[in-house]
């Protein structure tokens, strides 16, 4: 049991939600072991932990999606017992999920009032529905047309609509589950504004995110869970990042290497190494307006840029996943005009997409089938898949990458994000590629697996593989890359090397569109 430090003690009337001794078991395994959680009026409370820590289980109990096996919950001092999400919603405890659960073909107003449409004489009162939506959106400072089709809006705006819906339901407690996972940087700022607005109105917010920058930007307190147990609740202002990582991992501070990534620190530049990939003047509509870059053998080239800068589009153009309007790609000095991924794969290029669920795993197939999907043509003898060789390769890579699953026959959808990502990496590594293109290789992965994957990337580059790594995590770029190319609005704006690579210089290039050498001393400090 952890008791909050005296400075942290508030008046009891401030507490809006209190959970005590929460226990949840799944088929005998304990998912939550006597966890306590208190939420105060008007606070933004971060909930963090590695995968399997019990975050989502706790949230699901809080919002009525699961029933608890032990413990008690009070809302505004009253004991409550939510049996369904509808119960929790009626009481004002509302979750807004990572994937937005709304109707993309219907309008904003229809989505906000879905299931409780204002009526007149038994018919839908469209006038009032639109007027009420407009008032609500205005109050929240959102410039969204209530009559717009939801699917036509940007992901960020859809997210805002989802939150607005929660507010209109009378949310006293709003749970935001990875709200920024699909947002661009400036959209995140809009979300922050909205959160502060709600905070000022007295709404309590539970905020789940893997990104530390966000936690420190918007959250007041943080509750750390590990392996289904409460580690502690702290004020973020008085908790250093490194300490937070230590709490999440359950390690002492000096056990951690410098930095929080699995990279060894700055990569040496592979100065004399032969160029492996040379892409020049890649163009595709408004998204790519002349991107050039090159990757040498044995180096990790970092690609930085905000969402919409053309990072992913660059990778897809090289790999032949999308057609390009112009530009050239050379691999090992030979021109490559990949019209389909298959062409690129033949040129020994591999590509791990940022969208693991949407473009990576085949959910219903086993780990074995997923791992060998790309390699099947090479594993085939007389038109039949060579089971023995398949097993050999799967065993080898499962061991080498430390993939954790009950067996190679387990369906991949049952694995954690980190292990799924390892399977996808193995899918390409077993092809012995020359160039590995990684788009957000550690997004949404718990810290332990993240470090393992980063260490693996590092090791691969050491064996002479060329790596093109796109990442929105600056730490990852700074510590992992030997050079960093910064993109902005579909064009190169800077190439950073050696000592010039720092979070400040990358941010500066992304924001100002010029190289870090131009950074004034004041910004550098």
């Amino acid at each position: 049991m952890t008791s909050p430090p005296p400075a942290d003690r508030h008046d009891e009337s401030d507490v809006i939600l209190r959970m005590e001794g929460i226990v949840k078991r799944f088929a005998g395994a304990v998912a939550l072991d006597h966890v306590d959680f208190t939420l105060r009026r008007g606070e933004v409370h971060a909930l963090v932990g590695e995968n399997g820590a019990g975050k989502s289980t706790l949230i699901k109990i809080m919002t009525g999606a699961y029933t608890r096996d032990g413990g008690q919950v009070w809302l505004e001092g009253e004991p409550v017992d939510f049996r369904t999400p509808a119960d929790a919603q009626a009481a004002g405890v509302i979750a807004v999920h990572q994937e937005i659960h709304l109707l993309s073909f219907r309008t904003v107003a229809e989505n906000v009032w879905l299931g409780r449409e204002p009526r007149r004489w038994g018919l839908v009162d469209w006038g009032r529905m639109h007027a009420d939506t407009a008032t609500l959106l205005q109050r929240l400072g959102l410039h969204i047309d209530p009559a717009a089709t939801l699917g036509a809006l940007s992901t960020a705006q859809q997210q805002m609509v989802a939150i607005a819906r929660g507010v209109s339901l009378g949310a006293r407690v709003l749970v935001l589950d990875e709200p920024t996972s699909s947002l661009a940087e400036r959209e995140v700022a809009i979300l922050y504004d909205l959160i502060r607005q709600l905070q000022a109105e007295g709404t309590a917010i539970v905020y789940i995110s893997h990104r530390f920058d966000e936690l420190y930007a918007v959250c007041d307190r943080v509750t750390v869970l590990r392996d289904g147990r409460l580690v502690g609740t702290h004020r973020l202002a008085s908790l250093e990042r490194l300490d937070l990582v230590c709490l999440m991992l359950g390690k002492a501070r000096d056990e951690l290497r410098q930095g929080t990534t699995g990279f060894a620190g700055h990569q040496a530049e592979a100065e004399g190494a032969a160029p492996l990939l040379r892409a020049e003047d890649l163009r595709r509509g408004q998204k790519l307006r002349g991107v050039s870059l090159d990757v040498r053998k044995g180096e990790i080239l970092g690609v930085a840029g905000l969402l919409g800068s053309g990072r992913t589009e660059t990778a897809r153009a090289i790999f032949g996943a999308d057609p390009r309007d112009g530009g050239s790609v050379h691999v090992d000095g030979k021109p490559l005009d990949a019209r389909t991924p298959d062409d690129a794969i033949r040129a020994r290029i591999a590509f791990v997409s940022e969208d693991r669920k949407g473009e990576g795993i085949i959910p219903e197939l086993s780990v074995r089938e997923n791992l060998t999907l790309a390699a099947l043509p090479t594993l085939t003898r007389a038109g039949i898949v060579d089971r023995a060789r398949q097993r050999e390769i799967v065993d080898q890579f499962m061991r080498r990458l430390g993939i954790k699953c009950t067996s190679a026959d387990q369906k991949i959808r049952e694995l954690s994000g980190g292990n799924q990502q390892k399977v996808l990496l193995a899918r390409w590594l077993c092809m012995n590629p020359a160039l590995l293109i990684l788009d957000e290789p550690t997004r949404g992965i718990d810290i332990g697996a993240k470090a393992e994957i980063q260490a693996l990337i590092n090791e691969l580059a050491g064996t002479g593989l060329g790596v093109l790594m796109i990442s929105s995590e600056l730490e990852e770029l700074v510590e992992g890359s030997s050079r960093v190319v910064v993109l902005r609005d579909g064009q190169n704006v800077a190439e950073l090397r050696g000592g010039d690579i720092s979070q400040q210089s990358i941010i500066h290039a992304m924001a100002e569109g010029s190289a870090a050498s131009a950074v004034p001393a004041a910004l550098e400090a």
Binding site: G28, A321, P341, D342, D355, G358, E359, L373, T380, V385
Partner: protein, 322 residues
């Protein structure tokens, strides 16, 4: 409540059940049906009836195997019944030139319809249900045109008639054909890259494409396969009738096939397929039809009962939640 986690003996039945996966429910339903009929339906548990059920089953099974592949890619092929009629009609008008001309031509006609379906579904991205609904309508018309404007063309080539009436030792030829097709299909799905590609293209086409899987070619292939097998079913049916009746052959075959596939546990949304399940599903449908027939219960009741079975099977397969 005790807090110690006692080493629970792994329930053998449970493991069996999960190994069977979604086919489990269908298998249980089949066993119950057969057991109940053996007790209550006179003459049900007899060798004659056993062969009768298999004979009735073989045409549905041929179509259902193709349908399993199509549904595994997340599509559906409504045109199979019309393809059966086309292939029967083609065989009827060409049979006088010999079986070596008639049979390949009939099967090629089926594959051509499949190619058309597949091309529209994959390269032109039209929904499978729409494309194959169009070929269902057009195909039935085309069959009647080929069939000399809807006449009943009798076929008396003895070789052709052997397809649906002949025996090889104790085995009826059509049952043999169906058994060989099922075995080959199981092999195709399990052991060839094509089988893996079918499941990958159905489970997550975007991911499959990025992994270098020829998604479009795979989708075209399953429709061609479905057309080929429907063509084969049409030949067997025509042989059984001794004639090509363009308005009648294959009428409603698509629904029987879809029902067999779904009851067997193949996901309608694609990405998961079980041919064993499809065989079980087809058997369930046939056992219901046969036993109702033997009990002299009107056919309409059999239809209602089939519907219940379909709903129940799909209910058993619904995604589990905690």
């Amino acid at each position: 409540m005790s807090t110690t986690v006692a080493a629970r003996p792994a329930p053998a039945l449970g493991r069996w059940w999960s190994a069977l996966g979604p086919t489990g429910g269908a298998l249980v339903a089949l066993v119950v049906l057969v057991a109940a009929n053996s007790v209550f339906t006179p003459n049900f548990a007899s060798p004659g009836n056993f062969w009768n059920i298999l004979l009735q089953l073989s045409v549905t099974l041929l179509v259902s195997v193709g349908m399993t592949f199509v549904i595994a890619t997340g599509g559906v092929d409504l045109s199979v019944g019309s393809v059966m009629a086309i292939s029967a009609a083609v065989a009827a008008v060409t049979v006088e030139r010999g079986l070596f001309v008639a049979l390949p031509l009939a099967l090629a006609a089926g594959m051509a319809v499949g190619l058309l379906n597949g091309a529209f579904v994959s390269y032109f991205r039209v929904q499978a249900i729409v494309v194959t609904l169009a070929t269902l309508l057009a195909g039935r018309g085309l069959a009647q045109v080929i069939n000399r404007d809807g006449a009943l063309l009798t076929i008396d080539d003895p070789g052709f008639l052997a397809l649906g009436r002949g025996h090889l030792g104790p085995l009826p030829v059509q049952v043999l054909i169906a058994a060989v097709v099922v075995a080959l299909a199981v092999f195709l799905l399990r052991s060839t890259p094509f089988g893996r590609y079918v499941l990958a293209a159905g489970g997550n086409p975007a991911a499959a494409r990025l992994a270098g899987v020829p998604v479009n070619r795979t989708v075209v292939s399953v429709y061609v396969l479905s057309g080929l097998l429907a063509g084969m079913a049409g030949l067997v049916e025509a042989s059984r009738l001794g004639a090509s009746a363009a308005a009648k052959i294959g009428q409603g075959a698509e629904l029987d096939a879809i029902a067999a596939v779904v009851v067997g546990g193949t996901l309608l949304s694609g990405g998961r397929a079980t041919l064993l399940g499809t065989v079980v599903g087809a058997l369930i449908m046939q056992v219901i039809a046969t036993s109702f027939n033997m009990l002299l219960i009107p056919y309409s009741w059999a239809l209602a009962f089939k519907a219940l079975i379909i709903l129940f099977a799909v209910y058993l397969q619904r995604p589990r939640r905690v």
